[in-house]
Symmetry: C2
Subunit: 169 residues, 2 copies
DNA sequence: TCAAACTCTACCGTATACGTCAGGGACTGT
DNA sequence: ACAGTCCCTGACGTATACGGTAGAGTTTGA
């Protein structure tokens, strides 16, 4: 009854809990805020930060971009800004005024998403090549290992296992 | 006649050319050498570095690990060491002496390769999720865009295009 | 043999992305 | 109202991965 009924389920978390949940340090959270990657969260009376659920999601998004894609925080800043714009547009209950402006923003977001997708596609492609490479190498090493083991099993006798190349041409 | 006949085709490149070919700076090449990522190349009489074709491949391999996988140079050092060991083992004309030692080294390499593959697999998986995410978002934005364009096409007339939701539910 | 181009080592500088205090408040349960 | 815990803002420190420059030596073509 003290606050508006709509806020009732709006969970807020202090920085310590956010740090635990997301796996990033408090220092890093403040750092991201300082750098504009996170928009300033609410505060309690005394100044304690209060993060929302969306803030937490955004933090995880940032980490993904960083670790999976290897983007710099500067790159990421652009991306989260585009993402924010995207969410705003989606959430907007279509005022249907200023259509050209809305269209333009939509284009900007499509651009950003397209660029991200290109990077991801490229990375996936390269990684899959690498994956195959590694698998092939591993297979070869496994063969090698079995050959060695076979040689060992047939004991250290002088010329017990002279030929193991049954497949080579 | 001055050098052994076998060396005839062994191309060597000075640091400048290597830098151009690989796209990394001379400074970085020396840096990698200093850090043990590249083993010291040959030198000319006066001390100029002479890189081999394998050196160049290794440099490209390092860059891949760095940019695609986001490994630190420390990680990469381990990996290139394992890779080197692998090549040595593969290249060795099986002296068939000290089999246990060879088997152990083989195991070490298999370990390294397995770890790399795990990282790559993991990364590919996450990236594919991201890929689908981005594609879905893009699709939604495209729909949005077409809606907006439709609204525009039907001119800015007051209530010309009030309902565009023909697909929703 | 000489100049232009290239390379050498050594050392200091820089950008990124945080870590680590210090000194001082804020919040919570009892 | 007070201990214990949590959080605040600077300010300085650190690891990584190089960049830049100086001052000197090396190579190579004419």
């Amino acid at each position: 009854m003290t606050s508006s009924a709509a806020d009732e389920k709006a969970q807020r978390y202090q920085i310590g809990e956010v740090a635990e949940r997301t796996g990033v340090t408090q220092r890093t959270l403040r750092f991201y805020e300082e750098k504009g990657l996170l928009n300033p969260p609410e505060r309690m009376e005394g100044g304690f930060r209060l993060y929302s659920q969306e803030d937490i999601q955004r933090i995880q998004y940032i980490r993904q971009l960083q670790q999976l894609l290897g983007f710099t925080l500067a790159d990421i800043k652009e991306m989260v800004e585009a993402e924010e714009l995207r969410q705003q547009i989606i959430a907007t209950f279509r005022p249907d005024r200023e259509l050209p402006a809305r269209l333009e923003r939509t284009d900007r977001i499509i651009d950003a998403l397209t660029r991200q997708l290109e990077v991801v596609d490229d990375k996936v492609e390269h990684l899959q090549t690498m994956q195959e490479d590694l698998r092939a190498k591993l297979a070869r090493m496994d063969v090698r290992k079995k050959e060695l083991q076979a040689s060992l099993t047939s004991q250290g006798a002088g010329g017990a296992a002279p030929e193991a190349k049954g497949k080579k041409k």
